[in-house]
């Protein structure tokens, strides 16, 4: 990794690492009586390891000038490996939490293993660890290819990737220590948030600089989505995390917002995190890897314009549908609901665009599990966006809110859409990045596909059932005009579905581990070969005959 940096970049890396290490030491000293102290030490120790890492490669020969004629894929390779590691952790903790709902004793009486701490470990590890790393890794890859431009320098993309992982690590370890600002999907405290701002702004700058150097006159759809993802997440993150720390040596901070304003800000953030992190970013992946793998031109450029601007404009308004029938004024709820309904068409337009792109390549969907991952992802994307708009309608929400239906909906999106498109893209990109002929085992990709699909379906159907039963039990009145069931009654009725959900999650976890093994073996042992035109930046666009792309890799054939 260090060998790819120029001498100057190695020096800058050292300066950054030493500065951050000093910052960590300062936090450790100021917060010696606070949980933040442990994080100070963690930051310092990691940076010192980094310093040794840089020094050990410091005197390696500098990369040649010829590097500038090829793409820079080192951050993408590291990102893919980190992404799969986070997937293994996040899916494991997720299934643990699922079993915890079946048997509450599985916390082993330890504070760190309580539901309230493990659950954000699960969500952060899968969304930000697994999803975020995959987004960063693929975005660098896609941006360079579709712009025919190398990343602007060698250091800043690595800084973005590793800095982002430091944030994830601080987040997850913080929850176990009891550090949280109790905002869903924005749990990390002020110092981790500030660090992420630095990292994320750098990410945005790297992206803009690459874009500015592009040799393609037009910007491909995938990059619109990646850009929207980076820009909007920066905005959401900064606004929702505005807060005042108690002191430099304390992990605790107080939000700038309170009461219903706090709730609205949080769900403006929360829903747009779904929109721009879990949707826009992964649509970027879909728009590159699906046509590439299928070897088909994108179905419709015009449709992609409608989807993109529809999603970008309409999603921003939809967050208040998380707060139906609360203290939030009714007019805000109306806007959230109606914009959610209008959002359906642009969302389905994306799913349709993806599926119609496969026309002429369905035989490949049949034969190639990697492409099938992407196809199923598009189907689940359509399914969960329909469900989302439906659940945003107030009377429907009256039944579904606070029930497991919401959990089922989230996982239809997270497992069926986000994870499937990510696994599909990773299986496509791994042979390209490591210059292998193909994956170590196509059969294991097939196994992973069926485990993931079965796990998702079991999970989602279990949660639909339990959610609707819960919702109905909570609103059933007896002939005396009082509630017919206590909360505990509904909890007992949930138990069989909780078991089914945990089994579905287990299948998904096993699939993920099979994927980790397969990717590891591909990197280690698969025969070297070229499955993608070289990493050299072409002087001119690749000549491609639509429908018969010589450039598209077809490892499965």
């Amino acid at each position: 990794m260090i060998g790819q940096l120029t001498r100057t970049e190695r020096q800058i890396a050292l300066v950054i690492l030493i500065c951050v290490a000093a910052f960590g030491l300062a936090i450790a000293a100021a917060g010696k009586d606070d949980p933040i102290g442990a994080h100070g030490w963690l930051i310092m120790v990691l940076c010192i390891f980094g310093v040794f890492g840089v020094i050990s490669g410091y005197f390696a020969p500098e990369p040649s000038e010829e590097r500038l004629d090829s793409y820079y894929d080192e951050p993408s390779r590291v990102g893919i490996v980190l992404s799969m590691a986070w997937a293994a952790l996040g899916l494991f903790v997720g299934d643990w939490v699922a079993w915890l709902m079946v048997d509450p004793a599985l916390t082993f009486d330890a504070a760190w293993a309580s539901y309230g701490r493990l659950r954000p470990v699960h969500t952060t590890a899968v969304i930000f660890g697994f999803g975020g790393n995959a987004l960063i890794a693929t975005s660098f890859y896609v941006m360079q290819r579709t712009s025919r431009a190398r990343l602007p320098d060698q250091l800043s993309p690595l800084f973005v990737l590793l800095g982002y992982n430091l944030f994830c690590l601080l987040a997850v370890s913080g929850y176990l220590l009891g550090i949280t600002q109790s905002k869903e999907y924005a749990e990390p405290e002020w110092y981790a948030d500030l660090w992420l701002v630095i990292v994320w702004v750098t990410y945005f700058v790297v992206y803009l600089r690459t874009l500015a150097r592009r040799k393609e006159p037009h910007i491909y759809v995938a990059n619109w989505y990646y850009m929207a993802f980076i820009l909007v997440v920066a905005m959401l993150h900064i606004v929702n995390n505005l807060s005042v720390p108690v002191s430099f040596g304390s992990a605790k901070s107080y939000s700038l917002f309170s009461g219903v304003q706090d709730a609205m800000t949080q769900w403006w953030y929360g829903h747009n995190a779904v929109a721009f992190f879990l949707t826009a970013g992964f649509l970027g992946m879909l728009y590159y890897f699906l046509p590439k793998r299928a070897g088909r031109p994108l179905f419709s450029y015009r449709l992609s314009i409608i989807s993109f601007w529809g999603i970008t404009f309409l999603y921003m308004w939809a967050g208040s549908h998380h707060l139906h029938y609360t203290a939030l004024p009714q007019w805000v709820q109306t806007l959230g609901m109606t914009f959610s309904v209008m959002l359906l068409v642009p969302s389905w337009a994306s799913a349709a665009n993806a599926l119609l792109t496969l026309n002429g390549a369905w035989h490949r969907v049949r034969d190639d599990a990697t492409l099938r991952f992407m196809m199923v992802a598009a189907v689940f994307y359509g399914l969960s966006t329909f469900e989302g708009s439906f659940m945003a309608i107030r009377p429907v929400n009256a039944l579904s809110h606070y029930t497991d239906w919401t959990v089922g909906h989230v996982h239809a999106g997270a497992l069926g859409w986000v994870a499937m498109i990510t696994f599909g893209s990773i299986y496509a990109i791994v042979p390209w990045l490591w210059k292998r002929e193909r994956m170590h085992s196509d059969r294991l990709v097939e196994v992973h596909f069926w485990l993931a699909l079965a796990g998702t379906i079991i999970y989602v159907i279990a949660m639909w059932n339990s959610g609707i039963i819960q919702g109905l039990m909570w609103r059933t009145y007896s002939t005396s005009g009082t509630l017919a069931y206590s909360f505990v009654d509904s909890l007992i009725a949930m138990k069989p579905y909780y078991i089914a959900r945990a089994i579905g999650g287990l299948l998904f976890l096993i699939g993920g581990l099979v994927g980790c093994y397969n990717i590891w073996m591909t990197i280690r042992t698969a025969p070297r070969g070229v499955s993608e035109p070289s990493i050299a930046i072409p002087e001119a666009p690749l000549a491609v005959i639509p429908g018969r792309p010589g450039a598209a890799p077809q490892s499965a054939e």
Partner: protein
């Protein structure tokens, strides 16, 4: 340099751009997309006209239907309360005995009581009201603070060792930790207390000696609350030690631990949380539950 090409499969032209091998077709947007887009927009506009929707500085558009969540909620609570008053008024007005004698009212009590108990009491006392270690079984005839409907109602209202001003207050001293009794004295008194509900085997001389010694300790230290007969005192929340009901366990170790460290059970007062009618329903629910189980 853009060269449109025709896709042999779909017959459409590409846009002429190409990114690392990916091209796009210039397929027109399918008509249903426009149709449904317009439909959802029309739905939204109609909804905005009918319902509260857009902010206007310090106010907002009220909508033609005049819908108002708060008013609707108040109305539906009022309606539900009015419907329930058919029987809740009788619960409020009649005595415990009168209600118990009315099977139709008791059916209402069972339905409402099940949910009230499940949501408020079952966390400690269990869904079946049979309690658990440290939490009294409410289906027996043994009641710390009295088992009459009035006594149960008062316990629910004020709680035990609770912040409520009228809270029932009770504490058993920590005889061991505070050095009031010595170890052998405590062991003897435990033997005595145990013998009240589980007589020792005949002819066990050691046990008999310990019980005799324990009885003296009991007389000197325990009778003030538990009474000379050890039958307890509901005025003080002191349990009957001669019956088969034990909140904190009736094995030697458990009783020794209680004597050594003392006891101060707690129950919240429900006056601020449940209405008088709800509390009365709970009392009747418990009496009904108790009557079904010998």
């Amino acid at each position: 340099m853009s060269v449109e090409q025709r896709d042999p499969h779909s017959g459409y032209l590409t846009t002429g751009h190409e990114w690392n091998g990916i091209t796009e077709l210039n397929t027109p947007v399918p008509r249903p997309v426009y149709v449904f887009l317009i439909l959802t927009v029309v739905f939204s506009v109609v909804y905005w006209v009918l319902m509260p929707a857009w902010p206007l500085g310090s106010s907002f558009t009220k909508g033609l239907l005049g819908a108002d969540d708060r008013a609707a909620l108040a109305r539906s609570i009022q309606q539900a309360t009015a419907t329930r008053s058919a029987w809740t008024d009788q619960i409020a007005g009649k005595s415990f005995a009168e209600i118990e004698a009315d099977p139709r009212l008791m059916a209402d009590v069972r339905r409402a009581g099940h949910t009230l108990f499940g949501d408020n009491c079952s966390v400690c006392h269990g869904r079946d009201a049979r309690g658990g270690k440290g939490f009294p079984n409410l289906t027996t005839s043994s009641w710390l603070w009295g088992g009459s409907p009035e006594a149960i109602a008062e316990t629910i209202r004020v709680g035990i060792n609770a912040p409520h001003a009228d809270s029932r207050v009770s504490q058993m001293p920590a005889f061991g930790r505070d050095g009031i009794l010595k170890r052998d004295e405590m062991e003897n008194v435990v033997a005595y207390v145990l013998s009240l509900s589980k007589p020792p085997a005949l002819g066990d001389k050691v046990a008999a000696e310990r019980i005799t010694a324990g009885k003296a300790v009991f007389a000197a230290n325990c009778v003030a609350c538990h009474g000379a007969e050890a039958k307890g005192n509901p005025e003080l929340g002191a349990p009957d030690l001669t019956d088969a009901h034990w909140i904190h366990g009736n094995d030697e170790n458990s009783i020794y631990a209680d004597v050594w460290g003392g006891l101060k059970g707690q129950m919240p007062g429900w006056e601020g949380r449940l209405t008088p009618i709800e509390r009365k329903i709970l009392v009747l629910y418990l009496i009904d539950l108790r009557s079904k189980r010998p």
